[in-house]
């Protein structure tokens, strides 16, 4: 009875390991889309206020028919290597299912070979970091088949910075001070009142 149970456990663990290594790899994708954006090199954009216009088109130097499988395009905001340093939760992994480089969605559109552009106001939940833009072309099965990005293969040129909102509010600060003061004052008040009651009782 012991051997089958152990075998089952090993099988289970093996299958879990195997399952994770199945999927589309980034290195298998072709760089067939030309993606440009309106930011200048190293520009700082404020989240929630400023905008960026992204345009993408099929690179005509590739043979015609390469893009026959492309059905949708997903444009994403991606972290540059400097913003991934010491932050494993933004790690670049070849297996796209596990890749965390491009978590922020800009837009998703049905695929057309040219005349694509989108003006995006940088959302207020985008963190402060250095970014580039990447567009993925997906087939009918929602799998990535091609890509294009605003930077070079080393992700070092044409990057821009987003300055996030602080998330702080004057109202919040005031409320915080009020409640803190209430806590300290009520404690002091209780202490003082009980000391006084004690003194009065002693005098009696």
């Amino acid at each position: 009875m012991k051997i089958p149970a152990g075998f089952l456990v090993v099988c289970l663990m093996f299958s879990c390991f195997v399952a994770t290594s199945y999927g589309v790899l980034f290195s298998s994708l072709k760089d067939t889309l030309i993606v440009t954006a309106t930011h200048t090199q190293d520009q700082v954009l404020k989240a929630g206020e400023e905008q960026i216009t992204v345009t993408w088109r099929f690179n005509q130097t590739y043979p015609a028919g390469t893009d026959s499988a492309y059905k949708t395009v997903k444009v994403k905001l991606c972290y540059a290597p400097i913003s991934q340093k010491d932050r494993k939760w933004r790690k670049t992994v070849d297996l796209l299912k596990k890749d965390k480089t491009c978590p922020h969605k800009i837009v998703a559109r049905p695929y057309t070979a040219s005349n694509n552009s989108f003006t995006w106001t940088i959302e207020r939940d985008i963190p402060s970091a250095v970014y580039f833009v990447r567009a993925f072309a997906l087939n009918a099965q929602e799998e990535q088949v091609a890509y294009g990005q605003t930077t070079d293969a080393h992700k070092s040129s044409n990057l821009f910075t987003v300055q996030a909102i602080t998330g702080r509010h004057v109202g919040l600060d005031v409320a915080s001070i009020c409640f803190s003061a209430f806590s300290v004052v009520s404690l002091a008040g209780f202490f003082y009142m009980e000391k006084r009651k004690g003194k009065v009782a002693q005098q009696k």
Binding site: F17, K88, P127, A164, L172, S186, F191
Partner: protein, 530 residues
């Protein structure tokens, strides 16, 4: 009829299913019930309750129990409130892995010192004010989260919030003023375990609050700050409840009762000396660092781990992380129970083996947790790890009351501080470093737990033995009296200060295990009944 085999301070008495489950009572004829006192529960001559009625809120004993554990629970909630929200906070404040790790270390380090100070505060002001002062003065630190804008601010605020974990001391101190020493073990164990659950509850509460506040219209970077107001309000509410509904002692508040000076107070210096020079104290400080310490560490890292490794939504990662901490409801008392159970047959040697087994098992499961790639297996190993570690906490306090009778308070305090120190250390070594991943950190931590638990084999009691060595055959050296009375000098023995230790020694004979035949009274010791 519940048979308490005279082991004061043992973690879990009476839970065998054969006795009435909810009323832990003292049946020993040595505790005289004061029948003139008008309390809801039967009390002894000091008006401390001799029965533990879990679902009662009667004043003052059970009300104190509930005020006390809920205050402790609240501080756990606020100390670990940031942990499940780290995926949002790290984006808002642009934190690196080192920043997150250092904040985790900071959150548990503050209370190493505050716990040591809290004992003195309770002595001076009473546990009621001790608890209320701490919880209400730490409320502003929780509200301070709304001002934090960078890594250093974040670390500083988490450090300050962490001071509030000293409510552990006021909680245990307050329990000992209200409950008889024969049931204080199970009372304190339950209060500590239920308080620790706060570390689990917060993993559930904070993401839910965050989602609700986000749905109400706030952006994520503001929503998490608003969410922190809830633990802050809990601090204030509990502080007010403790001040208005609580009292220091069964008969009233400390100020009024401080006139009674008939109990000769022991000298702090002496008590500290006997705690520090007993090598067993230090082994347990180390051990607790790898049961309670790793529990606190996991409270800080596990939600982020599940969020990142398995790509779960924030509130789902929070639910899983919560299960770890909530296991304390039963796991910690379970550890105390197995300790008592092993003691019945094998005595103290059984307790030590039990502790070693539970803590090592916890370490093994921690190693596995870091190695698996599937969500189901990760959750399974996490739960097994939680049971091992938390039961080990309960089992630790099944042995500690026997290390010393004179210095029990300080040893308990030092052990508690050791837990926090262990947590700070493991977070610093394994989780603040960008050079290896969290899963590797978990595996290495598991290996360290296994290694750090080995010293329990060195704990030797001459009268009961140790894991590998039998008790001393010498009639004098191998007696409980000799061990406990050796903490008093001849001078002090002349004054009769060692009487309580003698009583304790006689009661502790059950730690020999098996059939406890009446052991011969060693020559030269005053028998109790004279």
């Amino acid at each position: 009829m519940p048979e308490i085999e005279g082991s004061p301070g043992s973690s879990m008495h009476g839970v065998t299913g054969r006795e009435s489950v909810m009323a832990f009572s003292v049946a020993s004829p040595m505790v005289h019930t004061d029948r003139t006192a008008k309390f809801d529960l039967p009390v002894d001559s000091e008006h401390k309750a001799t029965v533990f009625k879990l679902f009662s809120f009667a004043n003052p004993h059970m009300r104190t129990f509930h005020l006390s554990w809920i205050s402790f629970f609240t501080t756990f909630v606020s100390t670990f409130a940031a942990a499940p929200l780290v995926p949002i906070i790290r984006d808002n404040l642009d934190l690196t892995k080192a920043d997150i790790g250092n904040a985790g270390v900071a959150s548990v380090s503050g209370s190493i010192f505050s716990r040591l100070v809290m004992g003195a505060v309770c002595d001076l002001l009473g546990p009621r004010y001790g608890c209320a002062f701490l919880i209400m003065l730490s409320a502003p630190t929780v509200f301070c989260m709304s001002f934090v804008s960078d890594a250093s601010g974040y670390i500083a605020v988490r450090f300050m919030i962490g001071f509030s974990l000293a409510t552990f001391v006021s909680c245990q101190y307050w329990m000992s003023t209200m409950f008889n020493s024969k049931i204080i073990g199970v009372v304190n164990g339950t209060a500590a375990g239920w308080g620790n659950m706060g570390g689990g509850a917060t993993q559930l509460l904070m993401p839910v609050l965050f989602e609700i506040i986000k749905k109400a219209g706030a952006t994520p970077f503001t929503a998490w700050r608003i969410a922190f107001f809830i633990p802050g309000w809990l601090h204030v509410i509990m502080g007010i409840l403790v001040l208005t509904l609580g009292q220091d002692l069964p008969d009233g508040n400390l100020g009024a009762l401080q006139k009674k000076g008939d109990i000769a107070k022991d000298k702090f210096g002496k008590v500290l000396w006997y705690a520090v020079t007993n090598y067993r104290t230090w082994i347990f400080v180390l051990l607790y660092g790898y049961s309670m310490g790793v529990e606190l560490t996991i409270d800080n890292v596990i939600a982020e781990y599940f969020y990142d490794r398995f790509d779960l939504k924030l509130h789902l990662a929070g639910i899983i992380a919560a299960c770890f901490g909530m296991a304390n409801l039963l796991a910690r008392p379970f550890g105390g129970f197995t300790s008592d159970y092993m003691a019945k047959r094998f005595g103290m040697r059984g307790r030590l083996w039990n502790l070693w087994l539970l803590q090592t098992a916890g370490g093994v499961f921690c190693v596995c947790l870091g190695l698996v790639n599937s969500l189901t297996l990760a959750i399974t190993f996490m739960m097994l790890f939680s049971i091992g570690a938390q039961a080990a906490c309960g089992a630790t306090f099944g042995v500690i009351p026997f290390i010393s009778r004179r210095s029990l308070g300080i040893i308990s305090g030092m052990t508690g501080a050791g837990g926090n120190f262990g947590s700070g250390l493991t977070q610093l070594i394994f989780f603040a470093n960008a050079s290896f991943s969290t899963e590797k950190g978990l595996t290495y931590m598991g290996l360290m737990i296994i290694c750090a638990t080995l010293p329990v084999s060195l704990v030797h009691f001459p009268q009961w033995g140790s894991m590998f060595l039998p008790p001393s055959k010498d009639i004098v050296k191998g007696s409980e009296e000799n061990y406990y009375v050796s903490e008093w000098t001849e001078d002090e023995k002349q004054k009769g200060m060692h009487e309580a230790s003698l009583k304790f020694a006689e009661n502790s004979r059950s730690e020999r295990g098996g059939k406890v035949a009446s052991a011969p009274t060693p020559p030269g010791n005053t028998p109790n009944h004279v």
